[in-house]
């Protein structure tokens, strides 16, 4: 019986630590894309925590929203930001070369 309690506690402590670690790296890491992937992993871990707290309703909501929607939403927004950054850089470099031929707008 004692082994069981110890193992359960070990699992809980590991889960809590990994949760904090994932959140910390997601919020303070340098690479933004990595932060988004870590946030997706964070959502999954959070769902596991809700299962451990005997709240399957919340786990279902967290999985449906965290795994399905937030991840896609963030990745999509990130791609939009990156893409327009690239476009702007390309525009500026082409504009400096052929400034006169373009009509200002």
């Amino acid at each position: 019986m004692e082994t069981l309690t110890a193992l359960t506690l070990a699992f809980d402590v590991l889960l809590a630590l990994l949760l904090l670690l994932t959140a910390g790296f997601a919020l303070f890491g340098r690479n933004l894309f990595r932060a988004i992937v870590l946030y997706i992993a964070f959502g999954l871990l959070l769902a596991l925590v809700w299962i451990r707290l005997d709240a399957p309703d919340i786990a279902l909501a967290e999985i449906a929203i965290g795994a399905g929607l937030t991840g896609a939403l963030l990745l999509s927004a990130w791609a939009r930001l990156e893409r327009s950054d690239d476009n702007q850089a390309a525009d500026e470099s082409s504009q400096s070369g052929q400034d006169q031929t373009r009509t200002p707008h």
Binding site: D57, A61, S84
Partner: protein, 222 residues
């Protein structure tokens, strides 16, 4: 100099946040044992609620106002994104055979699960929010794999579906008046039917609203 101030501010923020966290931690540890009163009240009233799953009973019956306002918040968020200027549509996705057959396989499965979650809500974990979020995820999947969904802000029927959850909720709440009871009290024998009615429309509304929120605003032609 500004760099120095910036570092000082960071340090101050770290101290303040850490201090608050320690204080809150002490509070949490020294809290008296949780009171079972609320859980017992819910358990006592379960027979009146119309469903057998306590969380659904709380969401749609005992604390219906919360859920009603939450549906309104979803709509408000959508109005907020739509009131910004239109955004550029992403370039069209070239269809990929693997993804195409994948979505053809997954779509019926996800639809089935949406229905299952909606049905399960009455007696087991599940319900309108989970089903709605899954529906929205299906929309996102189809949108990302290049299916052009007829989601256009100007279409009237779409707005009607988005508002349907809120309207169904209000109708069910006003039903109390018809029967000479308070606003938001369901007649005992109709409670189950009313909750199912709200949940079905709420699932549709939440699904479409969340999917439209995913588009990050009205899209302008490329």
């Amino acid at each position: 100099m500004t760099r120095f101030i910036w570092h000082a501010v960071r340090l101050l923020a770290a101290f303040l946040v850490a201090g608050m966290a320690v204080g809150l931690a002490f509070t949490i540890v020294s809290l008296p044992p949780a009171s079972p009163e609320l859980a017992l009240t819910v358990a006592d009233n379960m027979t009146k609620s119309g469903v057998s799953h306590p969380v659904t009973a709380v969401l749609l019956n005992f604390r219906g106002y919360d859920t009603l306002l939450e549906m309104a918040v979803l709509l408000l968020a959508l109005v907020g994104t739509w009131s910004l200027a239109p955004i550029q549509e992403m370039p069209p996705v070239t269809p990929v055979a693997v993804l195409d057959s994948l979505t053809r396989l997954l779509t019926p499965l996800i639809m089935l699960t949406v229905g299952y979650l909606l049905w399960a809500g009455a007696h087991a974990p599940g319900g309108a929010f989970q089903a709605g979020a899954l529906l929205a995820a299906l929309g996102v999947l189809l949108n990302l794999t290049g299916w052009r969904l007829p989601i256009d802000a100007t279409q009237c029927y779409l707005r009607a579906i988005m508002a349907a959850g809120l309207i169904a909720f209000l109708l069910a709440a006003a039903n109390g008046w018809v029967h000479g009871m308070h606003f938001f009290s369901y007649p005992h024998d109709q409670a189950h039917m009313l909750i199912q009615f709200i949940e079905t429309f709420a699932t549709l509304s939440i699904g479409i609203t969340l999917f439209t929120l995913f588009l990050l605003g009205r899209t302008a032609p490329h």
